[in-house]
Symmetry: C2
Subunit: 240 residues, 2 copies
């Protein structure tokens, strides 16, 4: 009898949470915690130009005392074609209209597919059935891989392509932010005690790590704090 793969089954409360260290993924982590999940955070060292992003992910994971924080190396830089990994200019000062209707230069080809695939692999290795990702289809900034139909299709594929899925332990991909506005996301996070000073959003930070204030991500963040009637602790730091 040949040895079979034995995953280490954890409780059904184990959840792998994709954590970039940004506002959305940090809020998602807080929501998974509030739902009682045992937290396994996964981040990606994918050749992003700014490692402040990974530093933020580490700070957030530590603050949440996640059970494990896995940083996977995957070199998307070799694959090319994005302002986040290559030497292209990050667009500045775009209107929400422009963000929503034009896939921006910051689009990384198939990034969420790659990240979810790696999260799925880790979930299966852990024996976890729940994956959380902070995609958002309202302020979705033009990314096709943030839409609910993409997430549904990914889940279907995942349950056909894994041992766990085929053997009747299907994966669930949770997208608690999917239909929230940025303001609702921030209100929810503040209600759950998130310290947004730990997070990082800017696509093009200044040399000292402070946000540029003009890229899509900074503009959406500012809009969100305005809608939530709250003050962004990062803006306080930026303008003391």
């Amino acid at each position: 009898m040949a040895p079979e793969l034995e995953a280490t089954p954890k409780t059904d409360a184990a959840a792998v949470v994709l954590l970039s260290g940004g506002l959305d993924s940090t809020t998602t982590l807080a929501m998974a915690r509030a739902d009682g999940y045992e937290l396994f955070a996964i981040s990606f060292n994918y050749g992003q130009r700014h490692l402040v992003e990974l530093e933020a992910a580490r700070r957030v994971a530590a603050a949440f005392r996640v059970r494990e924080h896995l940083i996977v190396d995957v070199d998307l830089r070799k694959i090319g074609a994005s302002a986040l990994t290559a030497d292209l200019d990050v667009p500045k000062g775009r209107s929400l209209e422009e963000m929503t209707h034009h896939i921006p230069v910051t689009y990384v080809p198939a990034r969420n597919t790659v990240f979810l695939a790696l999260a799925l692999a880790w979930a299966e290795a852990l024996g976890a059935r729940h994956i959380f990702i902070g995609v958002n289809a309202l302020d979705y900034s033009g990314y096709p891989d943030c839409r609910p139909e993409f997430i549904q299709a990914f889940t279907h594929m995942a349950n056909l392509g894994t041992k766990a899925g085929v053997e009747g332990r299907p994966f669930h991909i949770h997208t608690p932010l999917v239909s929230m506005t940025k303001g609702e996301i921030i209100r929810t996070g503040l209600h759950l005690g998130v310290d947004y000073s730990l997070t990082h959003s800017c696509y093009d930070p200044q040399p000292d790590g402070r946000p540029c204030g003009a890229c899509d991500s900074c503009l959406l963040r500012r809009k969100g704090f305005q809608e939530a009637g709250a003050i962004d602790p990062l803006e306080q730091i930026a303008d003391p």
Copy 2:
């Protein structure tokens, strides 16, 4: 007006081919070439225990004079849970029955999902619409992510989650080996002039790189050459 992502559109004949350096992926490369595609080979340095696999992929890519051979670093070892990346024993001497009906310890969680996701990312960055993968559902050795329904689900997901798919340039995933026996695969490859001495199949090679002759992969390879009525050049090398 913000800059938009400009992929470099290639001819519709550009194809990304997943190349492990094994018998199946090498035959797939030969079939894509015979169909007139311009070849872009992608291989993965994923923490497999035996780098002879990547050496074989390099030899094969060079022999086929592919337009580009991309080796992507993705550390699946951190994710764990497989004999191909961790320190588990590779099963030896299994019957075909055992191979087909039990997912083996050599199953890497969600491996084809991860590899196809990275191939998709590269295809999109290149402006290519065709992806070839040498999965096989007959001698499929128990892997859920080698079945046609998985490939169909992946394609559907890919066309929802990418800029190219959403904008009407859908991806096609070709699986020319999917319903071939190992014998048919080898006969096809020999007909197309494949030099199988360049390839590598063994899950557990000896220190000098020679195949063990007893793992699932070696046994399927031997069966294939027997069915094809041909001699495996690697066995000739092994037993001069």
